[in-house]
């Protein structure tokens, strides 16, 4: 039985989601919806997608029983869903493969993307190289300075990286600029959005492409435990890895869902990115969702040690899951995430992305609370290689 059937035909998750874009994009979004509706029910397309995930991405990604971590924390048994072992090192590629296949079916020859830390930009540039598509990635000029290696990776892959100088010069401004490109070149261009946000149908289709994560966990956990988990934990910036893990379990009320946001320097300092924990509903980037904003409705700049969580909005389905109390949203500070980054590296020999470290840090709090007869699956959404410079910088190490 699958009672959960959101979004509705117009892309609403309760009051959230929808299509809040300028008129020029309404018809292209309709065409995208129609193409996706046709392809999601087309066995050949699904087979093509599944083959790419298996042969190119390397799926299924392992579900790893973190026994030493479990022993150290003295509580629930911890399993890590190893999205870090995917090609390009994170869950992002599940979505870019799906959208690039969609773009190819729609006859689009040029793809564009926004990126913050560069992970989604790299995942887009990667699939564009493989499909022989022209690729332009918009990236805030502040982020370009912080992520020089990912910028070079994208260039090696043949993408053009366009620095965005407007606003706060970070991810939200890169998204604005990608939208501006799309509205200008809408005839031949497919916009590959990197998370479960944006106008309908993006939150739905990105979730669908990412839900391979949760579907794999459902059968993989059987091998170890013979039952489904008690709790799922994933970090939430825009929220695509969390939606991918949660979605196949939404109709299982016994499975607790925890989304972990970035508390940055602390929720009371104003320097954080905990949209669901501290924000309120508004409209940005094509959808109604929780936002971090001023009393006048201006979007504010966020802070997190992890660039991938540094976003003042969140996918609209998470806003719905919060209000309907199906999922709980919590926050982890920079220093808590950093401590767990070191702990996982030393305990299991796995270096997690700083984004994923937020999820792991929350699991550390949850494990003793739940007790040793319970099972927690944490989404290890990406590997930490990209963060080595950030960590070294904090430790005062220069290369």
């Amino acid at each position: 039985m699958n009672a959960y059937a959101l979004p509705d035909a117009r892309g609403h998750f309760g009051v959230y989601g929808g299509m809040f874009v300028s008129e020029t994009l309404m018809q292209p979004l309709k065409e995208l919806r129609q193409a996706y509706e046709q392809l999601r029910n087309d066995p050949k397309f699904q087979e093509e997608f599944a083959d790419d995930l298996r042969l190119y991405v390397g799926r299924p990604s392992p579900l790893y029983p973190a026994k030493r971590l479990t022993a150290n924390w003295g509580g629930a048994r911890i399993y890590l869903k190893s999205e870090d072992l995917n090609h390009t090192g994170a869950h992002k590629v599940n979505n870019t493969i799906g959208q690039a296949l969609l773009a190819r079916h729609m006859g689009k020859k040029r793809v564009i993307a926004e990126t913050g830390a560069g992970q989604h930009g790299v995942a887009t540039a990667t699939v564009a190289a493989r499909f022989g598509m022209k690729c332009v990635v918009y990236m805030g000029s502040e982020d370009i300075k912080r992520q020089a290696i990912n910028v070079y990776r994208m260039k090696l892959l043949g993408a053009e990286v366009v620095p965005v100088e407007s606003g706060s010069k970070t991810l939200k401004d890169a998204l604005n600029e990608a939208m501006r490109d799309w509205v200008t070149n809408v005839e031949d261009t497919f916009y590959i959005i990197g998370t479960v946000a944006g106008p309908h149908p993006y939150p739905m289709l990105v979730r669908d492409f990412q839900s391979v994560i949760g579907r794999e966990v459902r059968y993989q956990i059987m091998e170890f435990e013979g039952r489904i988990p008690d709790a799922l934990v994933a970090c939430v910036g825009g929220g695509s890895n969390a939606m991918g893990l949660f979605y196949p379990f939404i109709d299982e009320p016994a499975v607790a869902l925890y989304g972990v946001e970035a508390a940055g320097e602390g929720l009371t300092t104003g320097h954080h990115a905990a949209t669901l924990c501290t924000g309120r509903p508004g409209v940005l980037h094509g959808n109604r969702t929780y936002l971090l904003e001023t009393d006048d409705g201006q979007i504010i700049e966020t802070h997190s040690i992890s660039a991938g969580l540094d976003y003042p909005g969140v996918g609209p389905e998470h806003s719905w899951l919060k209000d309907s109390k199906r999922a709980r949203y919590v926050a982890i500070t920079d220093s808590e995430a950093l401590a767990v980054f070191h702990e996982l590296t030393r305990t299991e020999g796995i270096m997690p992305a700083l984004e994923s470290s937020h999820a792991i840090a929350y699991a550390k709090k949850l494990a003793p609370e739940l007790g040793s007869d319970k099972v927690i699956v944490v989404n290890l959404s990406g590997r930490g290689d990209k963060d080595i410079h950030t960590v070294a910088n904090i430790e005062g190490i220069k290369f």
Binding site: S22, T24, M26, V283, L284, G297
Partner: protein, 280 residues
């Protein structure tokens, strides 16, 4: 009859096309906005489109983005913009004022509260760029309850079914976005605009204004020959940006530019519009 309807009826009777300048409220300094609105009216503006600054103006090109950033440096809020219009109304009770901006500041204020405050301030209509009619039922009812017009966009990508949908939802006038792109782009194709206007007019008797990419008196004159209103934004805002360091000069220089636009448009033959009056 609303101020907007009255304005279009009167221009129609004179065989003229409306000139609609856009400025961002508070750019480059809040004290300039109201005197500038009066100066624009004195030099030929028929309707003022007043931009409400927003931190993430997705549909705007770099010129209007920077205008919003300048205004936001002064923390210009929607409440302040309403106060500016109230001040403008103290001396001008005829010229329609339309707010143009993005939905979020209005969401935060609340639709009903916004509509009441806007009507009390003397605003005539609102155009929220990121609010298509599909999501606008509640917003339209709130505006209608206070006699305000909900102005919607049509675009080159809008097919016949959307022309019909938007004509049914809109009041006051329809804003036709003349090109695929953001404000201030420079690839205006007048042949395409003319063909689309014909299709729009077949579906509505609301006046149709044309904007995005009209930057010179020559372009304004050519659009004036086929549209009911010419909307000029980036070309005006760019001149203001050049004078941002000496705001008082804006009050001298901008009316000159507007006068050039007006003169060029008035030399152009009037629109072959099917409009027999602007129905709400």
């Amino acid at each position: 009859m609303s101020r907007i309807e009255k304005c279009f009826n009167s221009l129609k009777a004179q065989g003229r096309c409306a000139l609609v300048p856009y400025i961002a409220a508070g750019d480059p300094a809040p004290r300039i906005t109201v005197p500038l609105m009066h100066a624009l009216v004195a030099s030929g503006a028929d309707i003022i489109e007043l931009g409400v600054p927003f931190s993430d103006p997705m549909a705007d090109g770099p010129v209007i983005q920077r205008a919003a950033e300048r205004a936001l440096q002064h923390h210009v809020s929607l409440t302040q913009v309403l106060a500016m219009v109230r001040e403008f109304r103290a001396q001008d009770s005829n010229t329609p004022v339309v707010l143009m901006g993005y939905l979020n500041p209005i969401e935060v204020m609340g639709y009903a509260r916004f509509a009441a405050a806007a009507a009390a301030a003397g605003i005539d209509g609102a155009l929220t760029v990121d609010l298509p009619p599909e999501e606008a039922d509640e917003f339209r009812s709130a505006l209608r309850a206070h006699g305000l017009d909900a102005i919607f966009l049509l675009a080159p990508t809008s097919p016949a079914e959307r022309i019909e949908l938007i004509s049914a939802a809109a009041s006051g006038f329809i804003y036709y976005v003349s090109l695929r792109g953001v404000t201030g782009a420079s690839h205006l194709d007048l042949g395409e605009v003319a063909a689309k206007l014909k299709a729009i007019r077949a579906g509505t008797d609301l006046p149709v204004g044309v904007g995005f990419g009209i930057g010179t008196p020559e372009a304004a004159a050519r659009v004036a020959a086929i549209a009911d209103a010419v909307i000029v934004g980036s070309a005006i805002v760019k001149r203001m940006e050049e004078l941002a360091g000496e705001p008082d000069k804006i009050l001298i220089e901008l009316p000159k530019f507007l006068g050039q636009l007006r003169a060029a448009m008035d030399r152009s033959p009037a629109a072959p519009s099917s409009v027999s009056g602007a129905h709400r």
